[in-house]
Symmetry: C3
């Protein structure tokens, strides 16, 4: 009930203000993020030239930083835009794509977090384990790593250490701000079979943060929109007509553009994990 | 009648020559521009390395320059490609994306226009007011700025000053070459809810210019293709089946690839504004 | 029969290992390549920062290098990633997009091939004639150049000289490793009317190589998936409903994600050309 009210407020603010969401992001998924933000009523802008990002983020209501297709030019832009956003009180969402795969990404994110305070960090379990940097936590990490295995502990610990909301996406999403931890049990495996659903989830969280919503509710709503839209998209797939992942992506963007609080009320599955009661 | 003949000539030249359209453009919408140009019968190429753009544009029949995701490397490429195109008599279309949002874009476009002569500049009303740079014109500029408010005057003034065709897109599009000014009353609000329709409009204008069509007719036809295709796409949307903006984009590209002069004859709404008579 | 067994093995290895395919590729088609690799069961990663590509390719099972939107930063990344892949025995697929259009591309590929040994090079006939660099072969080269005209000879000669498999795509695809040459007679003209089908074909070849399949079979299977999926996509187009190239692309990705050996058995048309017998 409480969540529904929070979400309604966020939706209304997005509708009334059409917030500008500044992205510095991967060229692989930039088109998807732009269309997704537009579909939900926001206004996306992608700009990554170091010399203009401070000015651009000053016009924006949220900054989404995604380290896919990272390079040195973008690294400078991330830092300048992130510091400016912090100075102006504009929320920053960090998506540490591929963290753990290369030294460059590991070092950059470590350095970035000493200089910029994000409101939310969203990633998959492998990225979050890499972020935690704890050898103890790394035990048993492999390609089957899922958010169920120690995700609650990692989310809570990282949230406390980094003073922000942590969102770990997977079969079950885990969201924590250190004080309270939630599970989201929406979504469909097809979401992991098209590119960009992680990046778009981060864009949605940025969009919700832009409305002034508290980071924890913004993360919960952003991920719920993705998960529930994935379920709706799958329900519309017609395999008899030969539909597969191409159609699934179209249905998914259809669902984004028609998403309303009613979808959440009908399908939302968010649980506060201490009590395991559905909200 | 006259316009229909002009448009028919342009179409026939595109079909017979499959012109190469060199783009230096944003990574957000490059895929959309490429598919749109292909759908209409052109041949797109995207190349932005300073060292090869002169050679590439020499092979092309038009050059489309889009400053979305601008950076210093691309700025050099814009200038070299633009100068070469001018030297060879190859038409240049400029899309000053986000003009007015940052000093970098403002300064770059101002400098560019002292060195390169475009055939057509296409943008939205905010970008065109920024281009005009007139404080008087800037009064009342805000997010609700639309092409109806002073668009005719700005288009005509800019066309005279910059010696080119100006195309301002919005609810009603305004196209002027300084001597004559037109309105286009096609399109659908959904076109502003997916990314890339502005960029693609510029690509279409480039494609029409490539056919050797006069800039004013190329701009009118390019924007008419977008507006009319948007109407067709919307007419095919089936909300009962849950269709939204994902399907709209698919329908839009369907309409591009099936576009013919017949669509223009059935739906085209171009008015010469002095007389307000439909052509 | 032999081919079917080879293909079945490749499919099974992809399913069981979900190989990581490292791309350094064009921003125009990166999203398409990522979705296509995911649809077939692989795991794509796009990374082009020189400083991290050696590490990234070390994690991968194949490296796909595509010189669309080439720039100097990527040129360094190609060389470092390619050399590392060679050192580790990871197969390299080269897609020399636009070869012949600029001196930069010509010089870069010539230099690259002295330093990196690809397993497969895939391109269209113009690119392959440019690669051959033979004035004699260049006679009669123009926009109507098709793989039927001298393609067998060029493929065989290049394969011998460059010690790799050559795949020339066109109305009929030609694949040769120098010892044996095949034709593939699948596909549909629509495939050349959307962007990225060439790039995606190279990604598919990379995915098949990643499974450990011999380059010649990997090339045959990769191109067969594209050609057959194009036929299936076209068969699902409903022009009565206004469907065109937008829907064709959706159907194509549907077909990718549903592709199985059964599709090949029903539709595959691969001929060993010495004997002209269907395999």
């Amino acid at each position: 009930m409480k969540l529904t009210q929070e979400f309604e407020e966020i939706f209304q603010k997005i509708k009334s203000s059409k917030p500008l969401i500044h992205h510095i992001t991967s060229y692989v998924t930039a088109n998807d993020s732009a269309n997704a933000v537009l579909a939900l009523g926001g206004s996306p802008v992608m700009a990554d030239e170091e010399q203009e990002v401070e000015e651009m983020v000053s016009l924006a209501s949220a900054l989404v930083l995604n380290i896919g297709t990272l390079n040195h030019q973008k690294m400078k832009a991330f830092l300048r835009a992130g510091k400016k956003a912090n100075a102006l009180g504009i929320p920053v969402v960090l998506d540490p794509v591929g963290l753990g795969s290369t030294r460059l990404r590991q070092d950059f994110v470590a350095d970035f977090l000493t200089k910029v305070q994000p409101s939310v960090i969203r990633g998959n379990m492998s990225e979050m384990v890499s972020l935690s940097g704890s050898p103890a936590l790394m035990k048993g990490v492999d390609s089957t790593l899922s958010s169920e295995e120690g995700g609650d502990e990692i989310a809570k610990t990282l949230a406390e250490r980094l003073q922000c909301t942590i969102a770990i996406t997977g079969k079950v999403d885990v969201v924590s701000n250190g004080s309270v931890t939630y599970h989201i049990d929406n979504g469909h495996p097809h979401l992991s079979k098209i590119t960009g659903t992680g990046c778009v989830s981060s864009s949605f969280i940025g969009l919700c943060c832009a409305s002034g919503g508290p980071p924890i509710y913004s993360a919960l709503l952003g991920l719920s929109i993705m998960g529930i839209s994935g379920e709706i998209a799958e329900s519309r797939l017609d395999p008899q007509k030969g539909q597969g992942l191409g159609s699934f992506k179209v249905h998914l963007f259809d669902a984004f553009s028609r998403f309303s609080l009613k979808d959440y009320q009908e399908r939302g599955k968010i649980y506060e994990i201490q009590s395991s009661r559905q909200l």
